[in-house]
Symmetry: C2
Subunit: 713 residues, 2 copies
């Protein structure tokens, strides 16, 4: 119980950090009347959108809650609710801090770059810590309730099902929030740019553009709340999947050489999470602008600090929980490894994080070949810019894939499947500080917008622009991290699926549905190939639908803005005020409407596949096809998502590189071509690409729940 | 022997058709002096390029021949040579007909649309029939030699290895020709357009553009010779893989109820090929312009005619070879099926072909939603055009994937793995007529260019343009067909790999390398996941490199053309002639240089993976990882290739749709945006996408050869 208590204290630290930091941020100067007005409009729009989004999700959520409670019992239903509510809360609180920090960042930037960085980063850190803290608390507290108060055995099916349902709740919010927020933010961004920059010839964030508030709202609901939900899900799902594996691998090992191995292994991933929350909080204090005024350097100090402290902390945990590095464990499936092996797996997880950060920065940073090559190719026109961008986006998948493969081989050699799970757990344990880097982006983006609209001096905009450029890279970095960890995490989920299935088949006396079922997961089974192919299709189809949705939403924004310009000629002269609210309203409706169908694609696919193959070829092949689908969706999903997020980031920064005065600078033909690339990259990197991430995991979670439901039938 | 003789006669029919039709085409009027001059320059450039390409391939080829002959014996080496030489010959002859037919098509089009169609289609049909005929003859004659004269048993390892090496020879030519030709043609096309249309403001194919001859050369070396090599490979490799499966599944069944099942099953795929060559030739006579002047309709008549006749022919083969539909067979692995089942599998193969044709036409034809949506999105600019194009390209993978999955399930249920193989064989048996539809494209494209450069009347250009627009769709259709069949064909190759491996392990007494090896192809084996991930990477990395190469080649063309304009100001005034040869030369060097490294990627990947995993985890896991790599490359390759070829075709026709007068027509802003989309689509659909196809198969073939070499070691 002491360990559990300490884990909960770790989670509470994050919440305490959040409350303390929110107060700190709110105490800052909120600027002039005009700035507060603008920020108020953004906040209002963002809150209105989120309210509507959550209401829509609630309809689906209540239906699913009822289904889960009916099929799997109330505890499972409640697990689902906890996941959904906490994920929603993390996004909601984060977004609310973000819409208040933006104006304070703009105001602080009037004094100094360091001041602006401080406010923006702290606001991002609130979101980051809440994501990690609430996810850990949700899992840990519900686990405590189930095993300590509801009297369930730690590795019992009821506990596993309830925790998986918690992950599913988080997944549900995540896919809707990522997609809905993504469509909103990029519809506003692309549409606003097209009609403002291109048609009317007014700069970005010009207050005369009726879509400008919507654009800033989008940053908060997409890049802040959407991203928070995504990482919350990845965190929760990974933790749960690792615990499911621990339950299966160590079930029955309650007294090995005087040690309750099962319980310890169930707690170990949560302990890593708790310790890393503390080290992440400490890491945030390392973020400080050095003498060289490098913003990226300041942020990296925090990340590196947190990483190194985490390695030390995990080593300490191994000593306390396993009594040193030498202790040896054997899973029920026969794999053996030592405590040192597990520690090394965790360390490898952190190394993977570091490598993915470095690789993503290489592909999206303005100092390296990829971005420079896109900028260079802009000189010969729109077409060559896009060709080179696509080439880079395809190429950028190679190194992350090799790193992930290396990670799989190394951790599997050290500690089998459980080793892979521990590596991903460690990767995600740093979510607090990584999300902080990302959530800082929309705040600075908004601060720039507010500075522009409120007519603050040019230098302020320069400071916020510098912060914003770094935000582009950190956003890409977080996405690389999220998808990398999702790829590895999904492998853990797949392992959970096969292990679960194994368990049900072995205990078919109790779970009669599985009587006489044999499953052949071999690649030479054509139903496995069928599952792989159909799984592989999901990210493509999903991505296609998401891109179309953004195009449609952007088109609607263009129409709306044109209408306002036509009906109120005073807007362009500055004598009449545009109706910002209508654009926000319209996008809200469009995003909510467009998010539902594609979100259901990964939810329904495994279920439909299961029943179709069941009819054609029986239970065994149906389970094989569904299992293969899970790997298929990871396989293409990983490549689709990495190529989209890295490629999009590279396009964006190629534009910034040209705006910095290369190849003719702003207004040159090369710049126009680069704007096209940036426009293409927008839905790539901020809608379709990141939304593939929850799509991968929700497919996996649904498969696990399907097994549970069939087992109960 | 009678059956073999008839098969060889079938192959010879194709050759006879080729000789007869070449004479027919060459007898046509070759137009004015000026037209012949231009055509001469194109022919010269194309021949020079192909000579250089084959020389380069020869260096690699001789090295590989030596390696194969050393490790696996002279018969295997010679098999490799036969495949390489015949593939090269098909491309070379086809290209030579094409560069003579272009000017004759232009001349015929001065009389009537039907006349132009006749010459162009016949020229394409020569290439088509030679591809199918030479591939069939190569396999059939070498098989005859090996089993009838060299005294080898039909299912012996030596025969299998020699035939696989024949496939490898074809693959080698294919990957180089597709990639080299693709880089040449799109480098010329993109570069020429950028500097001509965009910078200098002169129309396409304007004789003042120094890159214009290179552009026309590219059509012949890329779209004609490259495509021919690709389909030759797919045909040969599929035939060989089906025969390898037959050898493994029916080995020893030389006297079942008075029937030599083994020999019959080995001949069956070749018999299908021979019969369908005859039906394809008959089909070409159905191609005739109807009263409605629909070119697409005329071509479809040929395809549908050939398809229906083929079904009847295959039914007849089943009656002759298997003595009716009721005969029952049992493979050595225990699967049983009837002659009717095999016939139905072949019929399903033809249905898949039809469905893929229809789906591809839907996604790339100007009459349907996808192309119209891209045209519509061009109204709001370059960015939205590209976004919608990418959305369509992602979406376009869904239906083909579902068709392929349906095909796998249906044929596997009917006749197991051998059923899948027979379906692909039947699909490819129609290659003659399908390639004819495709190879007709570059001829009409060239004819248009010649008409423009020779200053023929506007109506001629209108006729050739109408032919060219249809060529865009048929090109996309053939690519869809090629990649669809490659996807299914690669499954057959994968089955050949696992069956081969199985065979070696079972006979480890003889093949000592395989002693004690056990291979776990289950998805829960992490090395399988590693193989899948790395296999999945190949199409991405390969595609990225190919796109970059096109961008670089196009950039070089832009520089060269700018230099000529600068140094010879008379060119633009029409008083000085541009130096066409330099652009051709430069592109030749660039394409040859750029094709080598990416071509080696799929060749070396399985070998490197095998030895790396061998060191880390031993033989069993190394075989598992390589096997998984084969499926991984199919899985992402299928999606990457379909999305690129369909998306590219849709972009191209969206531009044509606007040029037909929609959304403002030629010269409008929407048209400019559509030109950008077309430029992006060019390397997508003509370089990277189609080259993925041979990349998939070469990876698989190399894996089979690796097994053979290890077995001999």
């Amino acid at each position: 119980m002491t360990a559990l208590l300490l884990i909960i204290v770790g989670g509470l630290c994050a919440v305490a950090y959040g409350i303390f930091t929110i107060n700190d941020v709110m105490r800052r100067d909120a600027g002039t009347q005009r700035m507060q007005e603008i920020a108020g409009a953004i906040a209002e729009g963002a809150q209105a959108y989120l309210r509507r989004q959550y209401l829509t999700i609630a309809v689906v959520g209540i239906l699913l809650f009822a289904l889960l409670a009916y099929f799997l019992g109330l505890k499972v239903g409640i697990g689902f609710l906890i996941g959904a509510v906490l994920s929603g809360a993390a996004g909601f609180i984060g977004m609310n801090v973000s819409v208040r920090a933006n104006v304070r960042t703009a105001q602080a930037a009037t004094q100094s770059l360091g001041g602006g960085l401080d406010v923006a980063f702290k606001s991002g850190a609130v979101t980051g810590m809440l994501v990690a803290g609430l996810a850990l608390l949700g899992v840990a507290l519900y686990y405590t309730y189930l095993t300590r108060y509801a009297g369930l055995a730690p590795a019992s099916r009821d506990v596993i099902d309830a925790l998986v349902a918690l992950g599913f709740g988080a997944s549900l919010i995540s896919i809707f929030a990522r997609l809905g927020g993504g469509i909103f933010t990029k519809g506003a961004d692309v549409g606003g740019d097209l009609v403002g920059k291109v048609e009317a010839g007014i700069p970005e964030d010009d207050p005369r553009n009726p879509a400008t508030i919507a654009d800033n709202v989008g940053d908060n609901v997409g890049d802040c709340a959407g991203m928070a939900a995504d990482l919350f899900e990845t965190y929760a799902v990974t933790l749960v999947a690792t615990m499911v594996l621990a339950a299966i691998f160590f079930s029955g090992q309650t007294a090995v050489e005087g040690r309750n191995v099962l319980e310890t292994m169930l707690l170990y991933p949560m302990a890593i999470g708790a310790a890393c929350i503390v080290t992440s909080i400490v890491g945030t204090f390392f973020v400080r602008l050095g003498a060289n005024q490098s913003i990226m350097g300041a942020l990296y100090k925090g990340l590196i600090g947190a990483g190194i402290l985490s390695i030390a902390a995990i080593a300490a945990i191994n000593f306390v929980m396993f009594g040193g590095f030498a202790t040896r464990f054997t899973t029920n499936t026969g794999a053996t490894f030592t405590s040192l092996g597990l520690f090394l797996c965790a360390a490898i997880g952190l190394v993977i994080t570091a490598l993915i950060v470095v690789i993503t920065e290489y592909y999206t940073g303005t100092n390296f070949r990829p971005v420079k090559s896109i900028a260079q190719s802009s000189v010969t026109g729109h077409g060559t810019n896009v060709i080179q961008g696509l080439a880079i986006s395809l190429e950028s998948t190679a190194l992350p894939a090799i790193v992930i493969v290396g990670g799989i081989i190394a951790t599997y050699s050290l500690a089998g499947l459980f080793g892979i799970a521990i590596a991903v757990t460690a990767m995600l344990a740093l979510a607090g500080v990584v999300v902080a880097l990302d959530a800082f982006g929309p705040v600075t983006d908004n601060a720039g917008g507010i500075a522009e609209m409120a007519g603050l001096p040019k230098e302020v905009r320069k400071s916020t622009d510098a912060l914003d450029a770094v935000g582009n890279t950190t956003k890409a970095v977080t996405k690389g991290y999220a998808i990398g960890s999702a790829g590895l995490g999904a492998l853990v989920l797949f392992a959970a699926y096969t292990s679960d299935l194994d368990y049900f088949i072995k205990n078919a006396d109790q779970y009669t549905y599985f009587r006489g079922v044999t499953v052949d997961f071999s690649l030479s089974n054509p139903y496995v190939v069928v599952g792989l192919l159909l799984g592989g299709l999901i990210p493509y189809l999903f991505g296609g639908i998401a891109m179309t949705a953004v195009g449609r939403a952007a088109g609607a924004v263009v129409e709306e803005v044109r209408r306002q310009f036509r009906e109120k000629p005073g807007i362009m002269k500055g004598t009449d005020r545009p109706d910002y609210g209508r654009a926000v309203d319209m996008l809200t409706r469009a995003a909510i409407k467009e998010m539902v169908v594609p979100s259901l694609l990964p939810v329904l696919s495994p279920v439909v596949l299961y029943f179709v193959i069941l009819v054609i070829a029986g239970k065994g092949q149906a389970f094989a096809a569904v299992g293969a689908m899970l790997l298929g969706v990871i396989l293409t999903g990983l490549y689709v998502a990495i190529s989209m997020t890295s490629g999009g980031g590279a396009w964006d920064n190629a534009k910034k590189y040209i705006e910095d005065g290369h190849h003719g600078g702003k207004g040159s033909d090369a710049h126009k071509a680069a704007v096209t690339g940036d426009t293409v990259g927008d839905p790539y990197k901020d809608t379709a690409g990141p939304a593939v991430n929850p799509a991968i995991k929700i497919t996996n979670i649904i498969a696990l729940l399907l097994l549970a439901i069939l087992a109960h039938s």
